[in-house]
């Protein structure tokens, strides 16, 4: 995938093989703390996000998932700790450098967060209009290409309010991908969706990751989805990392009570057995 700001902030690393690069750490979170007043929400999180993988961050309500997401996209700054993106601590960036780093990230919000004063086409074109000098024709081609790939080209002239939840998610993904982001963050992408649409969104996350080679970070508490599509899982509880690794590793290391929580969330024994065998 073409890197918009290829050289920016890259740590000086030796030449990597494609396989090694694919399994490399893209984001390293180190001892992350965040408090609101006297409430400490994140209590020293440390874990890695792997490049090109579907990385799930799971945990019960109140575990700090959304707060972590807000630090990851720099909607807020952590009190202490580091978020190293390709070796650069992006909590320390400001101004134009910060804006350039933001280009690497695409965000799909829980409620899609499409601008309701714009059409679907205008929503997806928005990042290009704002940040590139592309001609109207080039923008149209790029936007229609993304909408076509995601199967919502026919809705280009509709307003977001006219779309179903699943279609809104697709448009939100198209908007996040239109500038060729390297990392896509999904905030609770299947919350409130029916089982069929949930499965469609799961497939969308997998397909998007494979087709565009992006790193996916999925904040979720939908355990069934997690164990269906995750390459790596980080389990948060009370603001701390309970466990992190592949699904198979996670299933081996989790406490019986946590396993019971996962099963109670609707994950079948078959899926758990399959992920234990295949990772």
């Amino acid at each position: 995938m073409k890197r918009l700001f290829g050289g920016m902030g890259q740590a000086s690393t030796p030449v990597e093989t494609p396989e090694a690069r694919a399994d490399a750490v893209q984001i390293r979170i180190q001892d992350l703390h965040k408090s609101y007043g006297t409430h400490e929400v994140l209590k020293g999180l440390s874990f890695d996000i792997r490049r090109g993988k579907v990385n799930h961050i799971i945990g019960p309500s109140g575990s700090g998932k959304t707060v972590l997401m807000r630090q990851l996209v720099r909607l807020e700054s952590p009190d202490s700790g580091q978020i190293l993106v390709d070796g650069v601590d992006w909590a320390t960036l400001h101004g134009l450098t910060l804006d350039r780093m933001r280009i690497k990230f695409g965000m799909v919000f829980q409620m899609s967060a499409l601008f309701d004063s714009m059409t679907v086409f205008e929503n997806v074109a928005f990042p290009l209009v704002e940040h590139t000098s592309m001609s109207k024709q080039e923008i149209r081609e790029r936007v229609m290409d993304r909408l076509g790939i995601l199967g919502v080209a026919a809705a280009a002239n509709k307003s977001p309010a006219e779309l179903s939840g699943g279609m809104q998610k697709r448009v939100a993904v198209a908007r996040a991908l239109v500038r060729e982001s390297e990392v896509l963050i999904y905030d609770e992408p299947t919350t409130g969706l029916d089982p069929l649409t949930t499965q469609t969104v799961d497939e969308l996350i997998l397909e998007t990751g494979e087709r565009f080679g992006v790193t996916s970070i999925v904040i979720s508490h939908d355990m069934a989805s997690v164990f269906r599509i995750a390459d790596r899982i980080t389990f948060l509880n009370f603001g701390r990392v309970e466990a992190t690794g592949t699904p198979a590793e996670l299933l081996e290391t989790l406490e019986p009570a946590t396993l019971a929580f996962i099963k109670a969330s609707g994950v079948s024994q078959d899926i758990l057995d399959e992920r234990s065998r295949n990772g």
């Binding site: 006297t38 409430h39 209590k43 109140g62 707060v67 909607l75 804006d99 933001r102 919000f109 499409l114």
Partner: protein, 286 residues
């Protein structure tokens, strides 16, 4: 750019582990409530001045969003013409009716045009225009921005490296600054028309005397005083409305509360600023 919310997001209760924080006593809660009550006006003013500073900084930074400015001017200005005109007509008409009736007792009804003109130009036009714009456009701005906030659209702007103050607040504040004085001029004209219609055609005043007395007492300085006030009011209305919408939280109910605060704060701000600006302009009363 500050997009950080001081309130913890929805799952921020991560530290609610059993036994970690003891419940505060009644005295503590009472003291805390009292402290919040005293502190809240200062917090509000501080938040407003923070948005003001960010707006001023972003207003001079490119890109200059002319299309958004025109759209905001169309919404605040053009969209308010009918309401402002209607208000102006009836204010002028009723003022004329009252003055003719009152002045007639001591034979001074010929001064009606002059007094209506002076009151309209200096006070009534800017204040009533501002109150009408605040009710119509200010509340709508707060609701729109508040809805954008609670549905994460403002966060989406930030993640796309677009400064939300520059994109959402600057065009609206500049539009308020420009359009409210123009609306005030409309108010002046329509209000005087209403006063003339009632005074001359219904109450029997001499049209020549009505106009001549008005020209004799009202000069450009009076109109200018009204326009200065209108510009300050327009800027303030949009700023307060944007600040309330921009920092709304708590879903639909939170947006409703923000809109309510926006209208109340704007009404108070308009009336308080009116006194201050008047005292400064005429050089006494402070």
């Amino acid at each position: 750019m500050t997009s950080e919310s001081k309130a913890a997001p929805r799952d921020a209760d991560a530290n609610q582990a059993p036994g970690e924080s003891p419940a505060p006593s009644v005295v503590d809660r009472l003291a805390d409530g009292l402290f919040q009550l005293v502190l809240s006006p200062f917090v509000e003013i501080g938040a407003l001045f923070t948005v003001l500073w960010q707006t001023l900084v972003q207003a001079v930074r490119p890109p200059y969003r002319v299309r958004l400015l025109l759209a905001s001017a169309e919404f605040i200005g053009v969209g308010s013409i009918f309401l402002v005109s209607l208000t102006a007509f009836f204010i002028g008409a009723v003022l004329s009716l009252q003055l003719v009736d009152g002045f007639r007792d001591f034979g001074a009804q010929s001064q009606t045009g002059a007094v209506v003109g002076l009151g309209m130009a200096r006070e009534l036009a800017p204040v009533f225009t501002a109150l009408m714009v605040s009710s119509r456009a200010g509340s709508a701005i707060t609701t729109e921005l508040g809805s954008m906030r609670v549905s994460s659209q403002i966060d989406a702007l930030v993640t796309m490296a677009v400064n939300p103050i520059q994109y959402l607040v600057v065009p609206r504040v500049l539009a308020g600054l420009v359009t409210v004085p123009i609306l005030t001029l409309v108010f002046d004209v329509v209000g005087m028309f209403g006063a003339y219609l009632v005074g001359v055609h219904l109450m029997g005043l001499d049209p020549g005397v009505f106009m001549e007395r008005m020209r004799w007492l009202v000069d450009w300085d009076d109109v200018r005083q009204g326009l200065i006030k209108a510009a300050i009011f327009g800027f303030t209305i949009a700023l307060v409305a944007c600040r309330q919408g921009f920092h709304a939280s708590g879903g639909a109910a939170g947006v409703g509360q923000a809109t309510n605060r926006s209208v109340v704060q704007n009404a108070i701000a308009i009336l308080a600023l009116d006194y201050v600006v008047t005292a400064v302009v005429i050089g006494q009363g402070l």
